[in-house]
Amino acid sequence: MLDIKDVHKTFNLGTVNQKTALCGVSLVLEEGDFVTVIGGNGAGKSTLLNAIAGVWPVDSGTITIDGINVTGLPDFKRAPLVGRVFQDPMTGTAATMQIDENLALARRRGKKRGLRWGVTKAERDEYREKLKILNLGLENRLTQKVGLLSGGQRQALTLLMATMQKPKILLLDEHTAALDPKTAEKVLAATERVVNEGHLTTLMITHNMRDAITHGNRLIMMHEGNIIYDVKGEEKKKLQVSDLLQKFNEVAKEEFSNDRMMLS
């Protein structure tokens, strides 16, 4: 479903801020893989997701989604294949537009936007049904502006939007990191439900190692722009937080002062 071959990306080449973010990453995802991604700050996790989404062009390497070489396409042209939920709840939705309008924008992802109505009555009924799944009471607030929703509600809505048109790959970039623990749990549960029901191929970055272990069928760890650890299936199920911590220790002895890792 996703095939990444030897992707390199360096930011600010030739300046004092030069930073190699990805150095030769290769990754193959099968259809239906739900992969959690962990790693310290600056390991290249978000960079990897942005490379797949097409936020900027990569320096070298090939990215193929569902058999289509997307390396030369900007993000909005990859959008039909890719669903995204961002870390910041403000990023994924249009605050000054209504809930139904936001969903309607998502429903037309990858389709030609012409002069037909932006939202139809039949769609609204459909959205009401879909919002019920989130269990947040949003189904009765279709015509409210999204700006009135809480961060958790907006993330859940973004998740629904990202999967409204079944994406070939779903990219979740620490989408619960900005939420309080209880809301984060709810959004994560909704994620699990949506991914399983749709049998979606998913990459999910998290800083919570327990979440990384409990969710998904595969786990990868990144360090200094590369994938250094990749477990799946039975082996992953047996994984303990302590195993991951040890792994971190091995690769980054001197860097293991990263406080976010210590806390989880």
């Binding site: 909005f76 939705t93 249009a94 998502a106 037309r108 389709k111 936007r113 012409g114 037909r116 990202a162």
Partner: protein
């Protein structure tokens, strides 16, 4: 002083109001164009100062050349579209900040407008010689005709911004990151918005030239400020009157009301025998105040001064 007040006649003021309404309606179309860029796309587009004159120049020159005013205004609209495209492409393709791109277009248009007007700063179009859509000589007809045009523009805008393409344009102005993630070509949407906006401004310029009976290369100077004034006055008034019931159509309609009120104020200033050149200063002050009010209101709820006063055992820091 008494002499001054004695010279002011209320009847005279009332008599002037219809003309103000007609001009307000014409400028309302311009203000609706500004609304697209300023409110929907979140871009302060200064090209309008140039495209307003372009519309005036194109319309007058074509009418003088024997055209019917309506196709002439259509050409003016298209000329505005093209100018807006230039601003949009300077911004999206060449990475020039939107405000600078607008200034560049406006600056360049000055020369183009002069060329259109055969290198004369002013070209008259006499209603006795040519058929005009509206004219200051016949205010009632002008009001009816411009009102019909305004209503048509309002309906088209309300419809367009409800369509898939219109929604994509609004989403672009609200959240580009999200728009791109939903597969919207945000650059194309910005160019489209700037083009349509300037097309409307140009159309308004063409109407204004017919109303005044001439096209002037400077007629658009400062029009962005008048457009902003109309948008802001309309919003404040609309929210005050309709509150939460103010829907999108209401917002658009109140922009036109804002333009009419602007012209009422303008007329009162003239009636008070103040120098009309002072109007620019008044307008600038009014727009600055209205733009500042939402910010200051937020500040008053959210200021260090207040937090300091409310804090326990506050003592002035020396």
């Amino acid at each position: 002083m008494a002499e001054y007040f004695a010279s002011l006649s209320a009847v005279d003021l009332v008599g002037r109001l219809p003309a103000a309404a007609a001009q307000g309606l014409v400028w309302g179309i311009m203000a609706l164009g500004v609304y697209i860029t300023f409110r929907l796309l979140d871009i302060a587009d200064l090209s309008v100062d140039g495209t307003f004159s372009t519309g005036a120049a194109v319309t007058v020159m074509l009418i003088v050349a024997g055209w019917n005013p309506w196709p002439a205004m259509l050409v003016a609209f298209i000329a505005g579209l093209a100018a807006g495209c230039v601003t949009g492409l300077l911004h999206t393709r060449l990475g020039i900040p939107a405000i600078l791109a607008g200034i560049l277009t406006q600056y360049g248009l000055y020369s183009i407008n002069l060329v259109i007007m055969k290198m004369k700063a002013n070209q008259a179009v006499n209603v006795d010689k040519y058929g005009l859509a509206i004219t200051g000589r016949n205010v009632p007809v002008s009001i009816v005709v411009s009102l019909l045009i305004v209503i048509a523009v309002l309906i088209i805008m309300y419809w367009f911004f409800g369509t898939e393409m219109g929604s994509a344009l609004r989403a672009t102005g609200c959240n580009q990151e999200m728009s791109k993630a939903q597969g919207i070509n945000v650059s194309a949407m910005k160019v489209l918005g700037l083009a349509v906006s300037n097309g409307m401004v140009s159309l308004s310029g063409g109407l204004f030239a017919q109303y005044s009976g001439f096209a002037d290369v400077n007629s658009g100077r400062g029009s962005i400020v008048i457009g902003l004034a109309a948008v802001i006055i309309g919003e404040v008034l609309g929210e005050a009157i309709l509150g939460k019931k103010l829907n999108f159509f209401g917002r658009l309609a109140f922009v036109v009301v804002g333009a009419i009120i602007y012209y009422f104020v303008y007329t009162i200033v003239l009636w008070l025998k103040l120098d009309s050149n002072l109007m620019k200063l008044f307008t600038a002050i009014i727009v600055a105040i209205f733009l500042a009010v939402p910010y200051l209101r937020g500040q008053s709820k959210n200021s260090f001064l207040r937090a300091g006063k409310n804090s326990l055992g506050s003592r002035e820091v020396k």
